[in-house]
Amino acid sequence: MKLIVEHRGRADEVVVDRQGEVWLVRVGETDYEVDAVTVAGTARSLRVAGSQYEVDLAHLGDGRYEVSRGGWVEELRVQDPLAYLAGRAHGAVAEDSSQTVTAYMPGRVAAVLVEEGARVAAGDGVLVLEAMKMENEIQAERDGVVGRILVGLGEAVEGGDPLFELD
């Protein structure tokens, strides 16, 4: 089966072929023979050329995977080639200048630092979220104008909740 795997900042063609107990996998130009088993839950043991790697593998939905190996975490996306091409074509068109900034963690809104319509530079603080006894400033990732602020002071938010618009 031919797949496109986006990883480490690039997209590789990956060909996967089951041969009895092992997998023959080609990543770009390199061939691997992989013996992969589930240890328990999301833990996997991969043997590649005798070397053994214990990884944890979580499916985040939509072909996105989180692969971790004790501290180091990598996010990858696996798609079939057509879906990948369709996605890229769509992505090229959909480049939008407006952005809804979401919370990357749950917390409570401890402060709102700017007003709607304020012009901000990249790195300027917009909101402060408080969690685990610490305050964390949510900053504008780029220069722009703050659109609607979607949360109020003291409000509890979940990870992924929209916080404000940045135009």
């Binding site: 990543v27 992969a36 999301t42 692969v67 004790g70 501290g71």
Partner: protein, 505 residues
């Protein structure tokens, strides 16, 4: 009441997380019934699961649960607890709470309320320490009359010095002075900045410690008046004043310095009539001089490193002292054996500037085997909430010498698995690659300095570059096959035809 031994039958643990677990373990080993308290989101917490009793104490917010001093004392009374152990944080250094316990006839496992109050005030404790002959950072809170007085004072304590605004705070009106010829300019600048910031131009002078180390002495005192030092811990590795890694003994310690510092700590504790466990914190400068910083009038997070090298059980000792038992002969000549490290595993994302990382612990495997100890407050499947301190667990290791302990820490971190949330583990892995850390060349600014320099970037393990791609691709094919296997045949066939037509297989 010195001399009177009162056995305890039940102790209320007025805390949560790993330290509640630590105390419950000690209680069980001593045959004392352990009662946990829990806030609403903590009902399923590890302390409750390991306790003999568990009692609700309120809502999620600390102020509505773990900080409800009166409610906790009342609960202790109601359930017939003979004593309360406060752990650290929350009510541990609240002298009023200690006093409330005493009033209710419940033993507070900690120092007397008066000792706690005396050490709680920075100015008062510095005054007491000076009087007791414990070295305090030279300088004074009193304002300087003029430049001449500043010059002679600076000369007397030695450069570099720090000028500080008497009314100050937040770095305003502060000037570091390296040598005598910079003093005049700095004095003027500091005064003018102080005037602008606080409408008060008085400044005072203090010795500036160049890249000092943070060393602390663990002390224990019984109610018969015996006070002992259990030796030092080095806690220089701090991120924004929060300790991250501790070790014992300190890499720069000598038997002579240990003795002097231990004696100073015992003098400090004696000056306030201290009993039970406490820690006297010092700054040690490059010239080997040390200065009193503060005393923590409670059990310390990092007590396990001292337990490793001394073979003593500090929490057991606390409880025995609270029972009125005298410290035994094993506390008389405490010599460290081998070397221990502690790393604090926080639910913080080192890739995102240490932002909190709550969530469900999808997977958890603690390291084990020789010389490894984990004091955890969570279990696999547990939920880390946003309400409390992000400390998940303390990993401590012991080795025959510092090199073996470092190797063991490295091995233990390689065995450890925490999945579902991000933790500070990659920071420790990066530190283990750092030459200064490996050499024991530490100071209290080092960690912040290296983090802002980008020197401590957690690196991808040097191994198979395509490992992630291999794992994800194989998983994806297996998932797809699984899903296909449970789909109705018609749909599966159609999908297969499409795949064939488009040359994807």
């Amino acid at each position: 009441m010195p001399g009177r031994e009162r056995p305890l039958r039940k102790v209320l643990v007025a805390n949560r997380g790993e330290i509640a677990v630590r105390i419950l373990r000690a209680l069980r080993e001593m045959g004392i019934r352990g009662a946990a308290i829990y806030s609403e989101p903590d009902r399923r917490g590890l302390p409750v699961v390991l306790a003999d009793e568990a009692h609700p104490i309120g809502a999620a917010a600390s102020a509505e649960s773990y900080l409800r001093a009166a409610a906790i004392v009342e609960l202790a009374r109601q359930i017939g607890a003979d004593a309360v152990h406060p752990g650290y944080g929350f009510l541990a250094e609240n002298a009023e709470f200690a006093a409330m316990c005493a009033t209710a006839g419940v033993t507070f496992i900690g120092p007397p309320a008066e000792a706690m109050a005396a050490m709680g005030s920075k100015i008062e404790s510095r005054r007491l320490m000076r009087a007791a002959g414990v070295p305090v950072v030279p300088g004074g809170e009193e304002a300087l009359a003029d430049l001449d007085q500043a010059a002679s004072f600076a000369e007397s304590i030695g450069y570099p010095v720090m000028l500080k605004a008497a009314a100050g705070g937040g770095g305003k009106g502060m000037r570091r002075v390296e040598a005598a010829d910079q003093l005049a300019a700095a004095y003027r600048a500091a005064r003018s900045e102080a005037r602008a910031s606080f409408a008060d131009d008085r400044v005072y002078i203090e010795k500036f410690l160049v890249r000092p180390r943070h060393l602390e002495i663990q002390v224990l005192g019984d109610t018969q008046g015996k006070l002992v030092s259990l030796g030092e811990r080095e806690c220089s590795l701090q991120r924004r004043h929060q300790k991250v890694v501790e070790e014992a003994p300190s890499p720069v310690m000598t038997p002579e310095l240990r003795q002097r510092m231990g004696e100073a700590a015992v003098r400090a504790a004696a000056a306030v009539g201290y009993t039970n466990a406490g820690t006297v914190e010092f700054m040690l400068d490059a010239s080997g001089d040390f200065y009193f910083l503060e005393m923590n009038a409670r059990l310390q997070v990092e007590h396990p490193v001292t337990e490793w090298v001394t073979g003593l059980d500090i929490v057991r000792a606390q409880i025995e002292i609270a029972c009125g038992k005298p410290l035994g002969p094993e506390f008389d000549t405490v010599e460290p054996r081998g070397h221990a490290f502690e790393v604090r595993i926080y639910a913080e994302d080192p890739y995102r500037n240490f932002a909190p990382s709550p969530g469900r612990l999808r997977r958890l495997r603690w390291p084990d085997g020789p010389g490894v100890r984990v004091d955890a407050g969570v279990y696999e499947g547990d939920e880390v909430t946003i309400h409390y301190d992000p400390l998940l667990a303390k990993l401590t290791v012991w080795g025959g010498d510092r090199g073996q302990a470092l190797a063991r820490l490295d091995r233990a971190l390689a065995e450890l698995r925490i999945e579902g949330i991000r933790t500070t583990v990659p920071l420790f892995q990066a530190l283990l690659e750092d030459d200064d850390f490996r050499r024991g060349d530490l100071d209290i600014e080092m960690l912040d300095r290296k983090l802002s320099n980008g020197e401590l970037r957690a690196e991808r393990p040097a191994e198979l570059a395509d490992l992630g791609a291999l794992a994800a691709a194989v998983e994806h094919v297996e998932r797809t096959a699984r899903i296909a296997a449970v789909s109705p045949p018609a749909r599966r066939d159609r999908w297969r035809q499409t795949a064939r037509r488009e040359g994807l297989r």
